[in-house]
Amino acid sequence: MSVVDRQEWDVVVVGAGGAGLRAAIEARERGARTAVICKSLFGKAHTVMAEGGIAAAMGNVNSGDNWEVHFRDTMRGGKFLNQWRMAELHAREAPDRVWELETWGALFDRTKDGRISQRNFGGHEYPRLAHVGDRTGLELIRTLQQKIVSLQQEDMKETGDYESRLKVYQECTVTRVLKDGERVSGVFCYERESGRFFTLEAPSVVIATGGIGKSFKVTSNSWEYTGDGHALALLAGAPLLNMEFVQFHPTGMVWPPSVKGILVTESVRGDGGVLRNSEGKRFMFDYIPDVFKEKYAQSEEEGDRWYEDPDHNRRPPELLPRDEVARAINSEVKAGRGSPHGGVFLDVSTRMPAEVIRRRLPSMYHQFKELADVDITAEAMEVGPTCHYVMGGIAVDSDTAAARGVPGLFAAGEVAGGMHGSNRLGGNSLSDLLVFGRRAGWHAAEYAAGLTGKSTRPPVDDAQVDAAAAEALRPFSAEGPDSVPAANTAAPAARPPENPYTLHQELQQAMNDLVGIIRREAEMEAALEKLAELRVRARRAGVEGHRQFNPGWHLALDLRNMLLVSECVARAALEREESRGGHTREDHPAMERSWRRINLLCRLADPTGGLAATDPVAGQIDLVNETTPPVRPDLLALFEKEELVKYLAEEELYE
């Protein structure tokens, strides 16, 4: 079959959100011929949805801020499970990454003295988020997109071809990472528009595909978030780290049903919005956990004073890290103190003048007006938790973003694990994309540069290309009435092919109900059974029509990825018998210091990468526990001993 079109590049970046584009810019600037491949149109990636801002300790608004404070906040937010070296690099490098965007044309909101303005956000001690109203992600993606165009313009001048050194393959999907022995040799892809297959041959592949939210029913994520990169890495033999940690953003829209899950930015609270229950009570004061008691206001008066005078007052508990707020909302609704449509009230209308709301939160104003007929300057919003982000991801080396055990494979952004520990702070995502996108692009280019010669480049194996093509075509020949011989032979009874849309809906419902914000052992076991059933049925997912822009086919292929990733989430969640950050066990409600040093790694059970022979009950994933290396002493020294005893096990404290 191997008549598939092949092109050679030095670095292939899968995904064109913030991390992917930043990686591509870096790789190209370091001399690597770089291809970017993305499922949507160029400039439409999920990063555009980010609203609040980019966290970077520039100290423009409060000069007390610096990287050490940002590092501390990040570790606290992640409940000390963070891969600490990543958290350190992130805090140190974020300001440079933001400033660099200005030199590429970004226009952030300004302070009175003309510097980049910074806003407050949950879990950040100082105003730290560089922002553009509530559309910061759009500014980020557009700036990176325009930087890529400017590099292409330079290449045009020099070579007569815009795409000689940096090309974007838009509306294309990668279904397999190809390998030469242990090493990466390229990717197998299809063009969504035509259904045509092709391979990009490259010694370095950067995975930057974002998250997994489309496995859940209520989510702020777009259709692209089907866990492709997580699954590609697993299938290529790389492990995933701590997949049990899934962030439910506390404030998604809850009404009307068709918009349920769409994000309501945390800036609403950062700028003064408060949460109330049906009794009108600001309930968050009842939900400040012990580890944060000293850091948050104990009364409404103090919380309100903090907006004006943050040096002498403590912040209101509406600005606790997201996991805390999401659990609190969940508890209020369960206790019968929810809003009419099963959320709670988020109110800015009584806190700020209408024109300030419209200026500072224009997208939110617009979103509620257009989609829910709610004027947020006059009435409260109804909000509830929505699946937003996965902290878990591909296990990577902190400095180089290299995936473990697969030379040539790199990962950055949401798809990479470790950086955020058990819970991500708002604003740390956009900075993560830039810091580690750059590092991934840099090291991918460096690795590829060592393999430029014809004899040293890893060759693409025809058999793998054929296997990938056959796998991608299977939905067109799914078992169905027509595929069974007409005569009454010994063939089993004909079964109609499964509808991929139905399978997807069942998966989303199961993950939402059984592996959602509050988890119980029996439910997760039920989820694993359901996933096994869906996995068997998904092999019979069939599609109508032909290969040209066929969404049913695309979904049938994405199901493989969602099922793999969902199994990782459910298995890891079952294994971790404690509650921490984005993982809450009703049957193990306490955070256990003994679990702090434990990472859970998921690997494909069948190392050949084949999925067919996998046992339906045992599943596709092997899980192992791993003890993490101790935090470097100079980083631990940034914390008070009294705080560390809340997180660290006895033996860690004495080391």
Binding site: S150, Q153, E370, Q548
Partner: protein
């Protein structure tokens, strides 16, 4: 409001041709046109091609023409139509059809490449940029653009005049020129690039006769005509006909 069955006509076909296909489909409270298209996919037409992404009016992917008007499907609520009305959904008319509601919007990406990028000021390092909010307000308005290309689709200069496409960048990219021209620190002039002149000479600003169709369809409410195109025209004209400006530009050029 209860559920009801709505009548839809959806254009189906490809580059070889096609036509409107009739559907009866369930509608529930609060839904938007994109929800209905998704229901058609899930229940009646699994291979119905549609481009979409964020479903929240932020990415600009799901552009189509609804009852002949260019709109985002995710931001068009079903409640704006009566229950009796038949709702017709067709692909963007100004661009070649790929399949069903998906069009080839490559024209826009070609035009984007023709606008010279931001030129960073010499001698101002990262972290040293100082700009006042009142000076960035105007270009920030244009940067709200989500590149849905509805303005490009509706603009009569190219909507039914394929022959104008090579010479005309369209409202979105003329606005991009205006944005860069208004950027407080853009150093294009110092590098010998006159953005106003290129708007006129290379991007076809002269074709625009300010009918404001683009502004009317903009889902972000950007005042494209009033705030970007007209000021750009005024300044382009000033430069073109003012002999002092002409002389100044010649002297300026010589210095570089």
């Amino acid at each position: 409001m209860s559920s009801y069955e709505a009548r839809f006509k959806v254009w189906r076909g490809d580059v070889g041709g096609g036509g409107l296909e009739d559907f009866g489909v369930e509608v529930n409270e609060g839904e938007v046109v994109l929800d209905i298209i998704h229901r058609l996919q899930a229940t009646q037409a699994p291979d119905l091609a549609v481009r979409w992404n964020c479903k929240a009016g932020k990415c600009g992917s799901c552009s189509a023409e609804i009852n002949g008007r260019p709109r985002l499907m995710c931001m068009t609520r079903m409640s704006v139509f009566s229950r009796e009305e038949t709702i017709t959904v067709t692909p963007l008319r100004a661009f070649p059809v790929v399949r069903d509601l998906v069009t080839d919007v490559g024209f826009n990406y070609d035009k984007a490449r023709q606008v010279p990028a931001f030129v960073p000021p010499a001698g101002v390092g990262p972290g040293e940029y100082r700009m006042m909010q009142e000076d960035v307000d105007r270009p920030q308005e244009f940067r709200k653009c989500i590149e849905c290309f509805l303005c490009q689709d509706t603009c009569h200069v190219v909507r039914d005049h394929e022959e104008n496409k090579p010479a005309f960048a369209g409202p979105r990219f003329l606005m991009r020129v205006a944005e860069l021209d208004m950027h407080p620190l853009d150093a294009a002039a110092e590098s010998g690039l006159d953005r106003k002149a290129t708007a006129q000479d290379e991007h076809g600003l002269g074709y625009c006769n300010i009918t404001k169709c683009c502004t009317e369809v903009c889902p972000e409410g950007i005042k494209i005509t009033d705030n970007a195109l007209i000021p750009l025209k005024e300044r382009a004209v000033d430069r073109k006909y003012d002999p002092l400006v002409w002389l100044g530009s010649k002297i300026g050029r010589r210095r570089t």
